[in-house]
Structure formats: structure tokens, C-alpha cells
């Protein structure tokens, strides 16, 4: 195994990635140029506004601003006057959300890993917990978020434990993040071959020795994709939670606020949209760094 080969592969991967982004940009502008300005609607009854089904979206400047307009908007003042360029609050808001999502990710990973460990250790716990863990993910976030927020504000008002609003957001984010970790840890810890477990038994190794020397190393290929999924989920959870409990300062709230002004300033909401895309990439990328430190254990991991 030489070092040159993976490096060449990496350069090619970056090239393909850049080409993919470029293709999306080209497709956007091509559709905007060729597509119908007012969209393509079938089944419309004349004289009845809003009837029919729109098959092709509108391409006018309100619905699809030009890419260069969206980029230029990033460098114009946010709210007129002497407010800073839009990119400044976008970056600030994205970093705020990233911090909250990171806390949510940590809580989610901790809870998920503990649940995975418990379920692997006791089969009864797996039977009892796993169905509930799956069901937990079917609860709509927008129903769940105000509940957490109101519990949080009651605890905060009681005065003994401070519970700032961002903590509610982090907990809601962790609620989405724990699921892939719990399942990933469970599957990972059960991954070692029977023959390896039997070998540990012949050494008279106890539960803890087997866990640290065999099960955890074997779990790494399952764990890394789970952590990456958890990071993506934490970001989505944090953005949605910000919007639904109305926390100020993050990218989700900024997106909603600017979208309300979309008629007269259609390029503005795309600023925070790009911000949240960058946010997701940074979050997933940071988790990929964990994988670098664990590369000795990553045999047989599916590329994800």
C-alpha cells in the first residue's frame, strides 16, 4: 500500500464533487432560462384562480433569483442603512446553530451509546427498548419541540436550575441525534464473529475485557456512519427547533424572518439557506475527522 494512490483518488473525489456543484448551478440557470416564467399548470379552470396542479415550478426572479444575484446579495447590507453585509449575520447565525447542534450531538451520542450498550448487554433490554426507540422517531418534531420549550421555561422560572432557551434547542436536536447512534452501537457491538467471542471466552475474559478489546474495536465501522448521521440529524433538529420555539440568533429563525420579506427582496432568504448548507457540511466534515483518528479500526466500512 503506497500513499500516492489514495491521494490521487482524493483529488479525483474533490474534482467530482466540484463538478457536481457546478452542474447544479448550471442546471438552475438553464432551467431558469428555458422554463416557463409562470410555471406549467395542468387542469386549470379558466377564471378560477389557483386551480389545477403545477407540474413545473415558476422561474421568475421572485421564485428563482439568478445565482449571481444571490451571491451579490450576500455582500450587500442586511437590512439597509449601515447594517453589515448579509454574509456577516449568516456566518454568525450559522456558528450559533452549529454550537447548539454540537451540544445536541454530544447529548445524543452519549444517550445513544448508553442505550446501545445496555441493549447489547441485556437481551431483555433490547426487546423492551428497541421498539420504543423506533417509535420515538415517529413523533413529529413540531409537536415535541414546544413541549420541551415549555418544560424548560418552567424549570428556568423555578430558579434553581438555569435552563436557557438554547438548551431546549440542543435537547430537541439530541432527540433526533441519539437514534442512529443507539442502533449503530447495538449493531456494532454485536458485530464480532462468534469465533472471536469464543476465543475471548477461552481466555476467561470478562464482559469489560471483551467490550474494550473486541466489541468496541469491531463496532467502529458501524459507529462512524452512525455518528455522521447523528451530526446531520442534530443540525436539522436544531434548525427546526429554533423555528418552532422561536429562539433568536440562529440560522433557522433568520431564514424564516428573511423569507417573510421575499417578495421585495427575493435573494435575501437564500443567504441563510446557503449558510445552513455550509453548516451541514461542516458538521459532517468534523465528524469525518474522528474517523481519521480511528482509521486502524475501519476495515470493511462501507463508504458513506
Amino acid at each position: 500500500m503506497t500513499l500516492r494512490e489514495p491521494q490521487g483518488r482524493r483529488a479525483r473525489a474533490v474534482g467530482w464533487g466540484a463538478l457536481g456543484v457546478l452542474l447544479i448551478l448550471v442546471a438552475w440557470e438553464v432551467y431558469k432560462f428555458l422554463g416557463p416564467a409562470e410555471g406549467f399548470v395542468v387542469g386549470a379552470i379558466s377564471g378560477q384562480t389557483g386551480s389545477g396542479v403545477m407540474l413545473l415550478p415558476r422561474t421568475n426572479d421572485r421564485a428563482m433569483p439568478h445565482i449571481w444575484d444571490m451571491v451579490a446579495r450576500l455582500f450587500q447590507s442586511t437590512s439597509g442603512g449601515d447594517t453589515p453585509p448579509l454574509i456577516v449575520p449568516v456566518v454568525t447565525a450559522a456558528l450559533t446553530t452549529l454550537g447548539i447542534a454540537a451540544v445536541g450531538w454530544l447529548i445524543g451520542v452519549t444517550v445513544g451509546a448508553l442505550l446501545g450498550l445496555v441493549m447489547q448487554r441485556w437481551r431483555l433490554a433490547e426487546w423492551g427498548l428497541l421498539p420504543w426507540i423506533v417509535v420515538s422517531q415517529t413523533v413529529p418534531l413540531i409537536a415535541f419541540a414546544p413541549l420541551i420549550a415549555s418544560i424548560g421555561s418552567q424549570v428556568d422560572r423555578a430558579g434553581t436550575i438555569p435552563w436557557p432557551q438554547w438548551l431546549s434547542v440542543a435537547i430537541i436536536a439530541s432527540y433526533l441525534a441519539f437514534f442512529p447512534v443507539a442502533v449503530g452501537v447495538l449493531r456494532g457491538l454485536e458485530a464480532p464473529d462468534r469465533i472471536h467471542l469464543d476465543l475471548m471466552r477461552t481466555y476467561a475474559a470478562g464482559y469489560w475485557a471483551t467490550l474494550f478489546r473486541l466489541r468496541l474495536p469491531a463496532a467502529v465501522p458501524h459507529l462512524l456512519p452512525a455518528l455522521r448521521l447523528a451530526a446531520a440529524n442534530a443540525v436539522v433538529g436544531a434548525v427546526v427547533a429554533e423555528v418552532s420555539i422561536g429562539m433568536r440568533g440562529g440560522i433557522g429563525r433568520m431564514l424564516i424572518q428573511l423569507a417573510g420579506q421575499g417578495s421585495s427582496d427575493p435573494a435575501a432568504p437564500w443567504g441563510p439557506t446557503f449558510g445552513s448548507i455550509a453548516l451541514g457540511l461542516v458538521a459532517a466534515g468534523s465528524v469525518a475527522l474522528i474517523g481519521v483518528g480511528l482509521k486502524n479500526y475501519r476495515r470493511g466500512e462501507a463508504a458513506a
Binding site: T49, G80, P162, R248, A259, G260, D265
Partner: protein, 388 residues
Amino acid sequence: MRHSIRRALTVASVATVSAIALAACSAPAADTGSDTGDFEPITSIKLQLQWLPQSQFAGYYVALDKGYFTDEGFDDVEILPSGGDIVPQDALVAGDVDFAVAWVPKVLGTLEATGAELTDIAQVFQKSGTLQVSFADKGVPSVADFEGKRIGSWGFGNEWEIFAAMAAEGLDASTVSITTQDFSMNALLDGDVDAAQAMTYNEWAQILEVVNPATGKLYQPSDFDVVSYEDTEGAMLQDAIWADTARLDDPAYADAAVRFLKAVTKGWIYARDNPEEAADITYQAAISAEAAFPVGPVHQLWQMNEVNKLIWTGGDFGIVDKAAWDKTVKGALAAVNQDGLNLITAEPAASAYSNTYIQKALDELAAEGVVVNGDYTPIDVTLTEGGQ
């Protein structure tokens, strides 16, 4: 820090109460103190707004900026915006805040649905600012023309004036198709609705800040037909200051309400006499402290101008006009929405509004030489693209 202050206050009040109790034990003839104004004045209050910081709420931000709250003995006044996520009357009922700004029909609906008790202690907006805007070629110049048309509304309790105005024209909700609008005006501009809901001070300006592709200039008012609900039977009272009815029996809270209204009245008077500066104060508060992203300064000045027209109609500031209140209640009783539901089915409790506190505040201000009534002389605001 805030908690330690609160804890200190709690300790102090417990000490005071036990001292009074002990004094009462030793000297049975001592005054009980409850009706003589013997209370610890409230110095910290929270006000819940119903939307993001913008000139619609200029009076409160001006009162904060100019120190009017401090003048009335408040050390700590927090103005909490909402992005639609916080319902002001719910926050007030839950005890999260001390006062709230909300539309009268929305609160009446909440009061009947939950059995909670709130009191309108000052009617800031005397007139309705709701419009139904349509392109001039759509043929919707009046409420009677709604029949068979697609009518946009924001929902969330903003729709009741539409149904009340229709009820007065003998139209029920099944004769029109009601579509939920988002908070941009794209539904109107893209032709997804025939007539869209808009506030004079906000969305109407947003439409007029858009370039008309046909002319290359901004849209002009003459491009549209505008139904003003103020001119219909559906007109309802909007921005009012609400207090917790049960807490008003507490002399400390009632006293705070009067002092709060004095500061707010002064704030709105300043906003009337200095619209440019008041709009700027609000805009600065919105862009700095609140992490909000308001539409630009020109839009805020337009809003200040329009809001002043709704507040200063000649009478005293903040007094609930019984005729307007009764009209709101009548409309609320008559309105039936697209799901066949009524906003309210019975008259609200008598405690739902009270002029006691605003009258006391106005009398005290008049004694200080402040003129608390009057008209507003509108200024000319020329809108720009995007309001910036």
C-alpha cells in the same frame, strides 16, 4: 444575577411579611395595609409583543430608549418579540410575561376557548389596519365581490375580519375559497390568490416595494383595488395592551399597570411628534439588540406613519371606545370560518376591557402637563425597492 436579585427580593418580601405579621400580633389595632397602597412597587416587568420588532411597536421601544420606563420607576423592562411562535395572550396567561400586545378578536377567542381571564387595559390602535389587496383587473373592489374568488388570509386568528365582513354582506365562508398566505406577498404577485390580506403598515408597503415587470418601476397603488376593513362591518380592534385580570386585584400590579401605561403613552406621543426618529430608534433596536432582520429604514418610516394614523384619531390615547368594542364583539359573534366554526359564541366577560387604568395614567400625565390626545399629521414617505 437576575435570579439572585429575585431571590433577594423574595427574602426581603418574606422578611417584610413576617415583620408585618409579628407587628399585627403584638398590636391588634395595627393597620392591615392592603387597601392603603402599602406594597412593594414592581420594578421589573416583561412585555410580550405579537410580532418582530418593527415600527408597529415603536412606542414601546421609544419609551425604553428615552427612559420613560425608568421615569415611572421601572429598573428593568424587557420587550419580547414573537415570530409567530409565541402567542402573546398565551404567554400572559402562563405568567411568562406581565403585559402583552395582541389583537382584540384573537384574545376574545382564547378567553372563550380556555376560560382564562385577561383585561384590555389600553386600546393602542383605534382603527383596523387590515386590507384585502387585489390587482385592479381581478374585479374585487369590495367585500361583496369576494363571492367565488380565491381569498388569501394568514390564518392564526388574523382571518376573522374577513369572515365578519362577509357575514355582514350575507356571504358565508363556503362561497369563497380561502387560501392560507405565507408572510411574503408572492401569492398575490404570482396570481395564486385573487385578493391577499395585507396590513396598511407592513405588507401593503412590501407590495409597493416590488418592481412591476411591465413598467420597470415600483408597483403603484393605482395598480390595485384595496378593501379596507375599517370601512366595513367587519372592522375589529387590533393592537391592545392586555393584563392578567386576576392579578389586577393585587395593588402592586395595578399600580405597575398605571405606571407602565404612563410610560407607553409618552412613548407613543413621542413617536407621533417625531416619526422619523421613532422609526429609527425601533430600527436600531431591531438590528442591534434583537437579532431581528427588519425590512430597511424606509419601510420602517412608512410603517411609523401608517401606525400613527391608526393610533391618533382625535380622542385620548388608549381609551377603549365602547362602540368600537361592541362592533368587534358583534363581528366576532357573527363570523364563521371555512370550517364552520365561530370565533366566539357568547359575549365576553365584562372584565375583558377596562378604561380604569389608562384613564388614571392619562389623568396623571395631564396633571404633569402632557397633552394625551390629538390628531396625527401624516408625512409623505416615498418607498424604495426592498424598503432599504
